[in-house]
């Protein structure tokens, strides 16, 4: 699970290299092809909890995309100070519940009076971008290396497997913090916000690939011995063709599941890095960064801690629910 | 004929083992699985019943129902009657059934590698089976008994093999150990669920011989579940053919093999390799796939695969055939569930099926 911040290294999703469920799953896919997709879709639709998760995810994505519009309608620019909303002596928001009012629907930040609602909305942008892109990167790397290792075998397999073992033995969170903290604040010709997003995507994505890689390797190994692969090989198909035309479609289901399940971990990691002060730089908002700021005031302004914390929780939960549902739907053995 | 089905001869004395109108269904998220419907049969001590069918035909579910192994599944529903030596098992308490399991009735499972616990030695698993039904027996006695059983099923150096794990045994040895475990309490009813499927042919023969020898020695009633008619032909006194959760043909082994009545049985016979057949002849497997137990075809469950389904107009597609006497030309107690008229069946079998067998 990537550098899952102080979470168990192996949730259910990391064990299944030798998990019969996945093997059978892949087998089913191989046989049933399209029909499994339909079955899975039907099952997913019936799984109310997963659908709920999916809806929350869609709402969050829409929220992130429409951020500028939402802010215009319901908030204030995310970096605009509102000194009048702050008690100057204590630096705390005026009014109860962290200054929640018609004007500021989620209240204001202590000290500077910035609109929490707009910071949450813009925070969703960074959080989701980092989570999706890093999951995507992990998947690409994981599939590429995992399939190569499983398909080619031999010394290529041993080297890739060794690298994966090595990366899994690496103190990743520690290393990421250290690495991100020494990197220059702007790079890739982007502003401070998006260049840090790119850095986070690379770091989180890079440390996440061995988890997908191991699964894909295991799947590829077992698929390689299957008849249809043997068949196309005997028909003279070349390796790349076998890999991408024959095997990849059969790996699609597990890859989809694990990519979905790696996203919540990435969200937690991004938030953890921001919490530890190496995430998105101010004044750009991030949920972890807001939580980190809240450390200074949470006894007297609990809302400033609860709102970003709850957002992280809800988002991660939604992805977990959806991911679990997806796995159950694609895994006939679960029933 | 040893068939003493309850439908014939209303004897007051129950057969040693009897199943009446057994229904097993499972509720799953995808729908209700009607695994066994109205299954009825009986068996006497010392006799062997073969249950034949493809996977998913309900034969294994039936045997598990006998052992009460569906009880732990909250989504399983078992109705009907199961009588073992004048004790009814469906309504019996969990504890009553548990005491019978492994004792009076025992089971040999299909794949001994997965059916034996990987983390315990083979010996300890046999000891466990013995001790649970012989409380108060010392470990030493239990161990001797286990080693004795291992020896009797033909495992060389049983003392040493006692401490081995299942994965350290060869396939045949493992199945022997499995049999030793099933027989350790001298069961009166032994259910063997595809005991030879996972084994190669020579070992298959050895295992079957072993079961036959042991049956003679212990005088047990044996239910032999298999999809392999050859095994049945070799061992069984009576045969039960199941399809889609229902018994579709039932009779003495001799009758069923000589004058099979159901098109499905014909198919099974056709797919059976025979030594006396010319190797150049092609086997004719039953076309199509077994039906979904969630969504059985209307009418005769076999109709999608039955080449003769159209001969009765729409009847095969609308009406479920009942199990009844096979009609003229069949032995007593030879029952079949088929809409084809008896004469047609005889004719088709004689003219179309037999020559190809």
């Amino acid at each position: 699970m990537s550098l899952g911040p102080e979470a168990s290294i192996s949730d259910e999703i990391t064990t299944p290299t030798d998990d019969a469920a996945v093997e059978r799953n892949a087998g089913e896919t191989a046989i049933a092809g399209r029909s499994l997709k339909q079955i899975a879709w039907r099952r997913l639709k019936k799984d109310r909890v997963a659908v709920g998760g999916g809806i929350v995810i869609i709402v969050l994505i829409v929220m992130a995309i429409l951020a500028p519009l939402l802010i215009k309608l319901l908030g204030h620019p995310y970096d605009e100070y509102h000194n009048d909303a702050i008690d100057p002596t204590l630096g705390l928001p005026k009014g109860s519940l962290g200054g929640i009012s018609k004007e500021f629907i989620l209240g204001v930040e202590p000290v500077n009076g910035r609109d929490i609602f707009s910071r949450i909305v813009y925070g969703a942008q960074t959080t989701l971008t980092v989570a999706f892109l890093s999951a995507f990167l992990s998947t690409i790397l994981g599939v590429l290396f995992g399939m190569t290792a499983g398909f080619v075998g031999g010394w290529v397999d041993s080297i890739i497997s060794r690298i994966m073992d090595f990366l899994l033995a690496f103190p990743q969170l520690l290393f990421s913090i250290a690495l991100v903290s020494v990197l220059p604040p702007t790079s890739f010709g982007l502003g401070p916000r998006w260049s840090r997003v790119v850095v986070l995507v690379i770091v989180i994505g890079f440390f996440g690939w061995p988890y997908i890689g191991r699964i894909v390797r295991g799947q590829t190994l077992s698929l390689r011995e299957r008849e249809f692969v043997e068949a196309s090989r005997s028909l003279g198909a070349r390796s790349p063709r076998i890999l991408f035309r024959e095997m990849l479609p059969n790996l699609a289901a597990p890859i989809l599941v694990y990519t979905t399940l790696i996203i919540p971990t990435n969200i937690l990691t991004e938030a953890a890095l921001s919490f530890l002060g190496v995430g998105i730089p101010p004044p750009y908002p991030s949920w972890g960064g807001m939580l980190s700021d809240a450390v200074a005031t949470y006894r007297y302004d609990a809302m400033f801690m609860i709102i970003p914390g709850a957002m992280i929780f809800i988002t991660v939960l939604a992805f977990n629910l959806f991911g679990d549902g997806l796995r159950d739907a694609l895994d006939p053995k679960a029933h | 004929m040893s068939i003493s089905s309850a439908s014939i001869g209303a004897s007051i004395q129950r057969p040693f083992f009897e199943v009446k109108d057994l229904n097993v269904r499972f509720e799953t998220d995808d729908g209700i699985v009607q695994a066994v419907t109205g299954s009825t049969f009986s068996l006497e001590k010392g006799k062997t019943l073969g249950i034949v069918g493809e996977s998913g035909s309900g034969k294994s579910v039936t045997s598990l129902a006998v052992l009460g192994l569906h009880r732990t599944r909250s989504n399983a529903k078992v109705t009907g009657e199961i009588w073992l030596d004048d004790q009814e098992l469906v309504t019996a308490t969990d504890e009553q059934v548990r005491k019978l399991r492994g004792g009076k009735m025992a089971m040999i499972f299909q794949d001994p590698l997965s059916a034996m616990h990987p983390y315990f030695t083979v010996g300890s698993q046999i000891v466990e089976a013995y001790s649970v039904h012989h409380p108060g027996v010392s470990k030493k006695v239990a161990r001797e008994r286990a080693i004795d059983m291992l020896a009797r099923v033909g495992i060389p150096q049983p003392e040493r093999r006692f401490n081995d794990y299942a994965h350290q045994f060869s396939g045949g040895m493992r199945q022997r150990a499995m049999i030793a475990m099933a027989l350790v309490n001298d069961p009166a009813l032994l259910i063997a669920d595809e005991p030879t499927t996972a084994l190669d042919v020579t070992v298959q023969a050895q295992i079957l011989d072993l079961i036959r020898d042991l049956q003679e020695e212990f005088g047990s009633a044996v239910i032999m579940i298999t999809h392999d008619l050859g095994v049945v032909a070799e061992l069984a006194d009576d045969v039960l053919v199941m399809y889609g959760g229902k018994v579709i043909e039932k009779g003495s082994a001799l009758d069923v093999f000589r004058t099979p009545q159901h098109p499905y049985t014909w198919g099974l016979l056709g797919s059976m390799p025979r030594l006396d057949r010319d190797v150049r002849d092609r086997l004719t497997p039953v076309k199509g796939t077994p039906p979904s137990l969630i969504n059985l075809p209307d009418g005769c469950a076999f109709n999608p695969r039955c080449p003769y389904a159209g001969r009765n107009g729409r009847r095969s597609f609308t009406e479920v055939p009942v199990l009844r006497d096979g009609g003229p030309g069949t032995g007593a107690g030879h029952l079949v569930a088929c809409h084809l008229p008896a004469e047609d069946r005889t004719k088709i079998f004689q003219q179309e099926v037999l020559p190809n067998l």
Binding site: T14, T15, L174, L183, G288, V295, I312 | M181
Partner: protein, 332 residues
């Protein structure tokens, strides 16, 4: 068996060497690439040229990377002397470097931080294994029941909660609202009761997160195990349900947990960075974070090596243990 262990140990050492080398490269190269000078980190703001030259000489910053790395490795094995003129600073083996920020050898510094992280990790581990296994097993046995559903809902919430959030919440509730003492570390031998009470909140918070994962994992494993043929066999033998679950089920349902537990514990022993940060516990993770913030390279390297070491060692232990608990696994 012995050959296996030796081979694994060699492997472990190789892994650790690679870990240090990568870390070493990154932290020596990145400052070069970004145009700053590691020596500056030691002399601080004054940037006195004499001091800079002295520091460079002392640390060997003028040497090529590979020479510097060689000296570092040698220091671990044989100790190391930092020399400027007549002034010699000896750093005895195993020398992980010398933190000039507070004039201390890194190794004893880390060893000093170990009990905190150990107390935190082991205490939490006991809790989370007990809780996770209990809830997981019960949920598996009562699959679909209210109990199962609520336990799994809580567990899913648990894995979705960031620890720095639960940590702050627990502090505001228990410390500031209910008035319990602020968590902190007291050495066990100084005062066992204070040790216990001071770590209770961090334990619970950390354990909650892991227990959630373990409950899910245990439940999944148990469900898979209970569906296995050999469980059916056990029942068919007439074993009591208690024996079936308690002996046959748990034995194979919990065995895979050993791997996960080993890895989790290994990772945690290298520093529970977030938990230590939230509760201000001065363990390895806190140390790491602090040294990263003050760019104290010898300590960063040291902690990375320690952390990797724990993961590698726990991996080895898990594999050896597997050879004992799973008869199918043959070491060699």
């Amino acid at each position: 068996m012995l050959a296996y262990i030796i081979r694994r140990l060699i492997n472990a050492v190789v892994t650790l060497i690679v870990v240090t080398f990568v870390t070493f490269c990154v932290f020596f190269l990145v400052p070069k690439l970004t145009g700053s000078d590691p020596a500056l980190l030691y002399v601080g703001k004054q940037a006195d040229p004499v001091a800079l030259a002295g520091i460079r000489e002392k640390f060997g910053f003028n040497d090529p990377l590979i020479v510097q790395y060689g000296k570092f490795l040698k220091g671990i094995v044989a100790g190391r002397d930092y020399v400027t003129g007549a002034d010699v600073t000896h750093c005895s083996a195993p020398c992980l470097g010398y933190s000039f920020k507070n004039s201390q050898e890194v190794w004893p510094l880390l060893i000093h931080a170990l009990p905190v992280t150990f107390s935190l990790a082991l205490g939490a581990a006991v809790l989370w294994v007990l809780m996770g296994v209990f809830f997981g097993v019960v949920s598996a046995l009562r699959r679909g029941s209210i109990w199962d559903r609520s336990a799994m809902t809580v567990a899913l919430a648990g894995v979705s909660l960031p620890i720095y959030f639960t940590g702050l919440l627990s502090l505001s509730i228990f410390v500031y609202w209910l008035g319990f003492a602020n968590p902190g570390y007291t050495p066990f031998f100084d005062n066992p009761w204070q040790w216990f009470t001071g770590l209770l909140l961090p334990w619970i918070t950390l354990a909650f997160l892991f227990a959630a994962t373990y409950a899910r994992l245990t439940r999944a494993n148990m469900l898979e195990t209970l569906g296995e043929d050999y469980i059916r066999t056990a029942r068919a033998k007439g074993l009591r349900e208690r024996t079936v679950i308690g002996k046959h089920g748990l034995r194979s349902g919990l065995t895979p947990l050993v791997t996960v537990f080993g890895l989790d514990l290994g990772a945690l022993l290298g520093g529970a960075i977030l938990t230590e940060a939230v509760y201000n516990l001065r363990g390895l993770g806190y140390f790491a974070l602090n040294s990263i913030r003050s760019s104290d390279l010898p300590i960063i390297l040291g902690v990375t090596l320690f952390a990797a070491g724990f993961i590698v060692i726990m991996n080895l232990i898990v594999d050896l243990l597997y050879g004992v608990i799973d008869p199918r696994v043959r070491l060699g």
